[in-house]
């Protein structure tokens, strides 16, 4: 039992591991554990009681009930605890396994925190293991590619500058068919709201930009979108362990907003991008507060609906259930606002159990879905727990305000034949809102 028995081949993992030497491994170990990590790592290592109370927390261990190597502490034991026990003297093969665990078998969703009496943060330990692997170049191919894209063009999907602007104008053009006076204002200095999205939106979910523009237009808001780099708020560098680039990305995002002198940044329905601004990127940069206020879509939609800027004449009449994305609920406490928004949009809501801050992860987040096709089966098998939970609601529609969650949930819905449909809040608002300015 353990990671060695379930090795999955990945191009870059194999290539990078082939170049490792004991000296390189030891140096990366020293850098991460002694150079960068501090009191939390050493205290957690010593005071984790190996009590196994966290075993029932993780969707991976719930989905593999007979295999203790998937429990939070089981994963720490095979990775960081082992590195510390052996003082960084591990084989390249073992590093392969550690990378596979850290990048593809832990979403860093922190559900296990609610189960650990000592207060150990397995997600944090996973991020350190990733940092160690990253320093050795041992990162799954697909997610490494997205991090490279960030480094090269400051967005996750190799979107070129002209393509970005072109996608916005294209969506503006499309939307003007429905709302004749609609604009997607580019680079408007001093706007109230700067709307930022993740690069997959212009790449393959452009309808989300259309919908956002329609909502902004209907609400009559003073908003803008940036034309220059910094427009992508996503952050795969945070997930591969490239902290330096994570810091640069956050800076670039804020500097873009400051250049445009906007009042605040509104983010699309994304979980991890939000995490990178409130939890990780800010720490790396030493920012306690945001240089420019950042608002997540859930909060933003709540504002629009409660102030009557957007009106819902008739609610969605089929029963829906709510998936709480960890990065905005367990991560940022938006579970109440999310519920209020969904209740303002839908007639009947069937809650999942457990929900709110105890939500079971979609198993796509934490960069796992970005590790690409070789690891799809890992996250689908690893999230039978969520599939069972979804099936138990008996409803057909699932609201999830996070891109990664959509990806992960759609995969389990397909695999376990649940016959459900996922919705963004934006989908529902666009579909249900009163369109006073439409043709």
């Amino acid at each position: 039992m353990g990671i060695a028995d379930r090795r999955i081949e990945d191009g870059n993992l194999m290539q990078a591991v082939a170049k490792l030497t004991p000296e390189k491994i030891k140096a990366a170990y020293e850098l991460v554990t002694k150079g960068e990590a501090g009191a939390r790592l050493s205290t957690y290592y010593q005071s984790c009681m190996r009590c196994g109370m966290c075993a029932q927390a993780c969707h991976f261990s719930i989905s593999h009930p007979d295999d203790p190597s998937y429990t939070p502490v089981g994963k720490m034991d095979q990775t960081m605890w082992k590195l510390i026990r052996q003082k960084g003297e591990v084989t390249p093969d073992e590093v392969y396994g550690m990378a596979q665990i850290a990048y593809t078998e832990c979403n860093m969703c922190k559900r296990c925190v609610h189960y650990c009496p000592v207060g150990i943060d397995t997600g944090f330990i996973t991020s350190l293991v990733r940092r160690f692997c990253y320093r050795l170049g041992v990162v799954p191919t697909y997610i490494l590619d997205t991090a490279h894209s960030h480094s090269a063009v400051m967005n996750q999907m190799w979107v070129k500058q002209d393509e970005w602007i072109d996608s916005l104008i294209w969506q503006e053009d499309e939307a003007r068919g429905e709302f004749p006076n609609l604009r997607v204002p580019l680079e408007k200095e001093g706007a109230e709201i700067l709307y930022s999205v993740i690069a997959p939106e212009p790449k393959f979910r452009t309808q989300l930009i259309y919908q956002a523009a329609a909502i902004m237009h209907e609400a009559g808001l003073d908003w803008t979108m940036p034309a220059l780099p910094g427009w992508d708020n996503s952050d795969m560098c945070m997930f591969v362990g490239d902290s330096e680039m994570m810091g640069r990305l956050k800076r670039c995002h804020y500097e873009m907003a400051q250049r445009l002198k906007v009042k605040r940044i509104v983010m699309g329905e994304c979980g991890h991008a939000f995490r990178s601004v409130y939890d990780t990127g800010n720490r790396w940069l030493g920012f306690k507060d945001w240089p420019v206020p950042v608002v997540h879509s859930v909060e933003f939609f709540w504002e629009l609906l409660t102030t009557g800027k957007i009106k819902i004449p008739k609610k969605f009449d089929k029963p829906v259930t709510i998936h709480d994305p960890c990065n905005i609920t367990r991560g940022y406490g938006l579970m109440d606002k999310l519920r209020e928004v969904v209740h303002m949009l839908c007639d009947k809501v069937v809650e999942m159990s457990p929900n709110r801050e105890h939500t079971i992860c979609c198993c796509a987040g934490g960069g796992i879905i970005n590790c690409g096709p070789p690891f799809k089966s890992v996250r689908v098998a690893g999230n039978k727990a969520k599939a069972d939970q979804l099936a138990a609601t008996g409803v057909e529609y699932l609201v999830a305000p996070c891109h990664n969650c959509h990806g992960g949930l759609e995969d389990i819905i397909g695999h376990y034949k649940l016959g459900m449909h996922t919705k963004f809040l934006g989908d529902l608002i666009y579909q249900l809102m009163e369109k006073t300015r439409a043709e």
Binding site: S47, A57, Y115, V118
Partner: protein
């Protein structure tokens, strides 16, 4: 053996309390200094309110998701720690130690209650050992270190119990009790038992991060 006993309950006892205290202070000081050097965010996020909110919540049996999901472990953990603390402070035999070594007059538990609590601790140790052997999630991550500290903590209780029941050589058992209890004291700052000194801090930090940054409870 009597000379050894006198030595163990005299200078050695003093020495072990001193090592325990100095070691703990040193460990806590190093932890704080390290956090200051490397993790200023820990300082930035620490909050008294959220720290105590989390600590009290986790001190409530069945008050958290983790305790609810592990009922047997909840009973075992609370019983173990509570009885252990009560015995350490108020075991009838300890009144003499507090008085003789430290000049403190301390109330004691009645004999029958102290015996019962000792049996509870022994039973809890057996339960922990059972989990390490038979519960796969625990067995998978158990190391020699975990066995060693469990054995170490078990020794003072089983020896006290045997001495009380006058099974085996009473003087020997009492000596074993004193020596092993001193070993536990000395081991606290330097082994897994350091959770005794660190967990208030790890709990406080988690409570603060969840309360202040994540705006949600950590239980």
């Amino acid at each position: 053996m009597q000379t050894l006993y006198n030595f163990a309950t005299g200078p050695l006892l003093w020495a072990s309390f001193a090592i325990f205290l100095a070691g703990s202070v040193w460990r806590i000081y190093s932890m704080i200094a390290l956090a200051r050097k490397k993790e200023m965010s820990v300082y930035a996020y620490m909050s008294w309110g959220f720290s105590f909110r989390s600590i009290f919540r986790w001190l409530t049996p069945f008050g958290t998701l983790g305790w609810k999901a592990n009922p047997a472990m909840t009973v075992g953990t609370f019983a173990f720690h509570l009885c252990l603390l009560l015995l350490l402070l108020f075991a009838p035999g300890h009144a003499e130690m507090w008085d003789y070594n430290f000049g403190l007059a301390i109330w004691s538990l009645p004999e029958w209650l102290a015996d019962t609590l000792t049996v509870v601790v022994i039973a809890c140790c057996a339960f922990f050992a059972f989990r390490r052997l038979r519960v796969p999630a625990v067995r998978y991550v158990t190391t020699t270190h975990d066995w060693a500290v469990l054995l170490l903590v078990f020794l003072p209780f089983i020896s006290a119990f045997l001495a009380k029941m006058q099974l085996g050589n009473t003087l020997f058992m009492t000596l074993l009790h004193v020596l092993s209890a001193e070993a536990v004291l000395i081991a606290i700052p330097f082994t897994r038992l350091s959770h005794a000194i660190f967990s208030p801090f790890t709990r406080a930090y988690m409570g603060s991060e969840f309360g202040g940054v994540r705006h949600c409870p950590d239980w």
